[in-house]
């Protein structure tokens, strides 16, 4: 786990329940899966991840079931025929897991206000001081691209979820086109929001390849390196030579108009 070198500070999670929320496309599912993987590799206590994303039909943490289970993580997500359902299925096991409070439970909550409604129905199961409610901020997304928008979105989510935020996660990204500048821009935005709300910046997360190129001491918060789990059908895992395809997007964009030749 020490591949990032000396001076690197991993996030430390002390509560048994961690609910990860954010706007659509903030990368919260990727963050939840990676945080779970990190905890599973570094802690000896039982770890579980629950898919509370009832609003997104594709790219949900349930896609990573096999990998998570391989690490000994308990995955609470619809199975069988309901795996693909576009029904808002809230599994009864999730409430049970929240109330039991053993080991660590990571909740991957759906995006935005619509997604956080699922948290609202469970809010009475949470006990204050025993959970973290973390907001994932991506400065490259509509509705969270400046401080005012972030505050508006967060207050809407708090009202719907009926829970208070306990921290912020800086996760600015543009998927394959993420640059160090985008990370720094997102770090600044998340720091400002954290300062205004008097909340800790719990960690900054980004793809491992980018973090390796950067001076991590400029971030005054812990850092979580990400390995992408939510891949598009034409993308290969990190090891594949075809994985870095940003240059091709330009080609894809170009439309060839018929010419008389």
């Amino acid at each position: 786990m020490n591949y990032l070198g000396v001076g690197f500070k991993y996030p430390s999670i002390l509560t048994s329940i961690v609910a990860i929320v954010g706007g659509f496309g903030s990368g919260k599912t990727e963050v939840a899966v990676n945080l779970t993987r990190f905890l599973a590799l570094s802690e000896k206590i039982p770890i579980a991840i629950a898919d509370l994303d009832l609003v997104n039909p594709y790219f949900r943490s349930r896609e990573a079931i096999a990998e998570m289970e391989g690490l000994g993580v308990r995955v609470i997500a619809p199975r069988g025929g309901n795996f693909y359902a576009d029904l808002p299925i809230l599994l009864p096991e999730i409430r049970g897991a929240i109330e039991k409070r053993e080991g660590r439970l990571i909740l991957d909550v759906g995006g935005d206000v619509q997604g956080s409604r699922a948290l609202g129905t469970l809010s009475d199961a949470f006990v204050s001081d025993k959970y973290e409610l973390l907001m994932v901020l991506n400065s490259r997304r509509p509705f969270t691209s400046d401080v005012a928008d972030c505050l508006k979105t967060m207050s809407r989510i708090e009202i719907t979820a009926q829970l208070k935020f306990t921290g912020i996660i800086a996760n600015s990204h543009m998927i394959d086109e993420t640059t160090p500048e985008i990370l720094i821009e997102g770090y600044r935005l998340a720091s400002s929001v954290a300062e205004i709300l008097e909340l800790p910046l719990v960690f900054l997360s980004a793809k491992r390849e980018i973090l390796e190129k950067m001076d991590l001491l400029q971030f005054k918060c812990p850092v979580l390196p990400l390995v992408r789990s939510m891949l598009k059908p034409w993308e290969r895992g990190i090891a594949s030579p075809a994985a870095c395809r940003s240059s091709k997007d330009e080609q894809v964009r170009r439309m060839t108009k018929r010419t008389n030749d």
């Binding site: 594709y58 990204h173 543009m174 034409w234 075809a242 964009r253 018929r258």
Partner: protein, 355 residues
């Protein structure tokens, strides 16, 4: 404007606003409900109109009525919803109304499933409604292209006074990619001379598709046919990927299927197998002559069509290649997306390279 990270469905909504189409009528259906959710937040900011209709049937006619004002109007839906709009689509084509529809395809037939598919090709390109008509069909393969084609769709709809459909499988709607919106785009002025603006100093205008006199009906159908001939001549769009004179095989694929084929082609290239991709962007008009031109090149030994269906576009490919080269097919459907490995295996099989 800085690049933004957007879900296909949101980007489609924003592209419409960019094209000056702030008039949206829709009914929720997975996997494209985010368009309505996004626009219900954005349209009030730009003074637009959003009506959540009681059904897709009603959506079709709200579009008809709204388009009759001469303003830019659009809807988004997914396969079963698009089926319900076919009636109105036939009426709008017959009445020469410009309107843009987006179909974020899911698996069918019937209620099917919610995962991506390309099984509405026939419906879109051959006309799902009744009568002698066609609509322009554009198929993006990335979120950025969805934005570009969405804006183009409004221009084409106005230019030819015809419905235009942007057709993307569920992946296009659901995936996140970086996008940029054109800053220079100028929306052409409205209302148009054919629109209903009140009979002030002119005879009343009637927008209709009813022609009880067979001579008049035939005349209208011939006008439509003439329009389609111009569209076929001027609006063909396609893209070639790694097409060169060393290729042994040419793949035909559109939408996200084409991107999966690109990964397969890159990896086959490393194995020393030269494969090119012909990606139709306009499905109607179909790049008939252009496909024939590529197919007859002497280095091409075999052809392969790959679709997220049991084989629909392949019928158009067969029409284009007139039996010149052996044509194979690989497809998965019902929401199963073929992997690059499956495409590679199909290419090798078609080239007779074992496995």
């Amino acid at each position: 404007m800085a690049k933004k990270l957007m879900k296909g469905n949101e980007a489609i909504g924003e592209a419409a606003i960019c094209a000056g189409a702030t008039n949206y009528f829709a009914y929720p259906i997975t996997p494209q409900s985010e368009v309505a959710e996004y626009l219900s937040r954005r349209l009030p900011e730009v003074g637009g109109v959003f009506v959540q209709a009681e059904s897709e049937v009603a959506v079709g006619y709200m579009l008809f009525g709204a388009a009759s004002t001469g303003k830019r109007v659009f809807t988004t839906s997914s396969s079963p919803g698009i089926s319900l709009m076919q009636e109105a689509l036939s009426y709008m084509a017959g009445a020469h109304l410009p309107v843009v529809l987006v179909n974020i395809m899911r698996g069918g037939p019937g209620l099917g499933g919610i995962l991506p598919a390309q099984s509405d090709y026939f419906q879109a390109t051959k006309g799902g409604g009744h009568g002698d008509y066609h609509i322009i069909v554009l198929a993006p393969s990335s979120v950025q292209e969805a934005v570009d084609l969405m804006i183009l769709a409004f221009d084409l709809a106005d230019k030819y006074r015809t419905p235009v459909m942007l057709i993307g499988d569920g992946m296009i709607g659901q995936m996140m990619e970086s996008v940029e919106f054109p800053e220079q785009y100028q929306t052409p002025p409205s209302p148009k001379e054919w629109a209903l603006t009140g009979a002030v100093g002119r005879k009343p205008v009637v927008i209709k598709s009813l022609f009880l006199d067979p001579i008049a009906l035939e005349k209208n159908s011939l006008e439509l046919a003439k329009k389609y001939e111009i569209i076929k001549a001027d609006e063909v769009r396609y893209e070639l990927y790694k097409v060169n004179d060393k290729n042994k095989l040419l793949i035909f694929a559109y939408g996200t299927m084409a991107r999966i084929c690109q990964t397969a082609i890159d990896e086959l290239e490393e194995e020393g197998i030269g494969v090119g991709l012909f990606r139709p962007i306009s499905l109607f008009p179909f790049p008939q002559k252009e496909i024939y031109r590529e197919v007859i090149k002497p280095n091409i030994k075999a052809l392969l069509t790959v679709e997220m269906s049991v084989g629909q576009m392949i019928e158009d490919i067969e029409r284009c290649i007139v039996g010149q080269k052996p044509l194979g097919f690989y497809g998965r459907t019902g929401g199963i997306v073929p992997s690059p490995d499956e495409v590679k295996a199909a290419v090798k099989k078609q080239l007779g390279l074992g496995k």
